[in-house]
């Protein structure tokens, strides 16, 4: 084979054969003649149903009858639009409300428009596309069974199936950021993939701002923050696919548990300087035990935003339930939410364990001066409020 043939062979290998379904082994091993008549009717019925389903699918993909329309789900206020208003393909939608506008597509995908954004729905040759003329949108796209969902701007085509992503467009270019899933961006004939926490701009003159900042206008900003990678290890830096700008988001939404501070005798600074404990003085050790422990352990606690973690958990659980009811258990967003809830659980557990370890360790150093009951109260209080110290008979002075 010559070189062009070899290159063409490589090109062909990029396509994969679709995977056939499993073989249905539930067949009669006896003679089929007695059921032949029934089987013929059953086959005819199956073919009829398949034909109907196929027709509907093809119509949907080609957009022949249904078109690529959207329905206003939340018009904001004041607004030119009303909730439930149907926006036909090609019809310009302007989010004139200061709160933006939320649209829903017929396949369940949701588009949140920032104020002062302009778009129109269009049919694509293999699906539907959102033509974003200017402004910012966040697309929560359900996975497409057939065809694709795109966001088209003047210089990019973004395939957003099964993702939650943001697209900004203005005269300088297009910026794409991904909160969840993997999008493909076609810019100048090149395809590039972006994963959660990554963003990309088609032009160097289009500034790459933090994704957190970029999505802060969204009604679901808090939720999207939880979707971004939580730890640096979760992100794999990749070289830019083109001269266009690209970067990974620095994960700071939920801070990881800080390392334990040095032991008290080495610690240069704690929030409250504990009273000096003379060696061998049991009474003094007991007297200042709770305060000393609490003050040192408290130096850890403010760095952990327990309330933010718990709030995120509640929101994720609610969203997961909503997605499950709407799209079923198999929807990627459901699994992803469950995984994030578990991750937050782990973080909460780790945070509590770290505070508890620290308190126990120091109690041991002062000879177990503080009772188990007080220790539990101290740990729980630090963990819950990050500031309050439990009222305890053994605590001699107010913690500041």
């Amino acid at each position: 084979m010559d070189r062009p043939d070899e290159e063409f062979e490589s090109y062909l290998r990029q396509f994969q054969l679709r995977t056939p379904g499993p073989l249905n082994e539930q067949v009669q091993l006896t003679s089929r003649r007695p059921i032949l008549r029934f089987a013929r009717w059953a086959v005819a019925a199956v073919i009829l149903v398949a034909a109907v389903v196929t027709s509907v699918r093809l119509i949907r993909v080609s957009g022949i009858s249904t078109g690529a329309y959207a329905v206003v789900e939340n018009s904001g206020s004041p607004s030119l639009y009303r909730n439930g208003q149907r926006m036909e393909a090609g019809e310009i939608v302007r989010s004139n409300s200061s709160k933006g506008l939320v649209l829903r597509l017929e396949n369940g995908s949701q588009i949140e428009m920032r104020s002062e954004s302009v778009l129109a729905m269009e049919s694509a040759s293999d699906g539907a596309q959102i033509r974003l003329d200017s402004g910012s949108i966040i697309v929560n796209a359900t996975r497409q069974k057939l065809g694709h969902l795109y966001v088209k701007t003047h210089d990019a085509l973004v395939s957003v199936d099964g993702t939650e992503s943001m697209v900004d467009a203005d005269t300088r270019g297009t910026r794409v950021a991904v909160m969840q899933g993997e999008v493909q961006v076609d810019h100048g004939g090149k395809w590039d993939k972006l994963r959660s926490g990554e963003q990309f701009a088609t032009s160097a003159s289009m500034p790459l701002i933090s994704i957190r900042e970029g999505i802060s206008w969204s009604r679901n900003a808090t939720l999207y923050l939880t979707m971004l990678p939580q730890a640096p290890a979760a992100e794999t830096p990749r070289p830019p696919a083109s001269a266009a700008a690209r970067q990974n988001e620095t994960p700071v939404s939920v801070p990881p548990l800080p390392p334990l501070p040095p032991l008290p005798q080495d610690a240069p600074a704690v929030v409250v300087s504990p009273p000096t404990v003379p060696p061998g003085s049991d009474d003094l050790e007991k007297a200042c035990g709770s305060c000393h422990l609490a003050s040192v352990a408290y130096s850890i606690a403010p760095k952990i935003d327990i309330h933010a973690l718990e709030r995120n958990q509640i929101e994720l659980a609610a969203r997961s339930k909503q997605l499950r009811e709407r799209y079923g258990d198999a929807y990627p967003g459901v699994q992803s939410s469950q995984s994030q809830i578990k991750q937050l659980d782990d973080q909460l557990g780790s945070a509590k364990a770290a505070v508890s370890d620290y308190v126990l360790k120091h109690n041991k150093m002062i000879g177990g001066a503080v009772s188990d009951q007080d220790l539990s109260a101290i740990v729980e209080s630090i963990f819950r409020s990050g500031s309050a110290v439990p009222t305890s008979p053994s605590r001699p002075q107010q913690f500041k």
């Binding site: 679709r18 082994e25 795109y150």
Partner: protein, 157 residues
């Protein structure tokens, strides 16, 4: 041949057989149905399998596809695409599948079996009862013709 033997045959050869079915069919569903139909008949003991079952299976699948093809057109649409495509490659996949249908069947089947069925030329020779050299030769000619035709089709669009 018992159920386990049939299952084993399916696990071992279904990929190649499916690719082979695709070489005759413009329809993913039709190709899939044809392969399943053959194995369902094996399970029902409707077919007597000879000692060397592989060439027999390929012939049976071919016949099943040709039977299904009688009333089908040659136009490829999205539903019928048997190539997996990603966003942005759907058109290329449809063009490729359409262009493959223009090749002589003996070249088309070898290309599909080799590239997507992942069969070696020896395995193709065994399955189609031709020599491995013949399979390789058909592949080479077919690939060149496909490349030339595919380029023409791509330029036209």
């Amino acid at each position: 041949m018992d159920r386990n033997q049939v299952r084993s045959l399916y696990e071992k050869h279904s990929r190649g057989l499916f690719a082979y079915a695709c070489s005759f069919s413009n329809s993913f569903a039709s190709a899939e149905d044809s392969v399943h139909q053959v194995f369902v008949r094996l399970l029902r003991l409707d077919l007597q399998v000879p000692d060397s079952p592989v060439p027999y299976l390929y012939r049976a699948v071919r016949n099943a596809v040709l039977n299904q093809n009688r009333n089908r057109g040659r136009e490829v649409d999205l539903e019928d695409l048997w190539l997996e495509t990603t966003a942005g490659t759907t058109h290329a996949g449809i063009e490729l599948q359409s262009t493959l249908q223009e090749l002589p069947s003996e070249q088309r089947e070898v290309i599909i079996l080799h590239i997507w069925g992942q069969l070696s030329f020896e395995e193709i020779g065994d399955a189609l009862e031709i020599s491995s050299n013949t399979a390789a030769s058909r592949y080479r000619y077919g690939l060149r013709k496909l490349r030339q035709q595919f380029q023409v089709v791509s330029k036209d669009r």
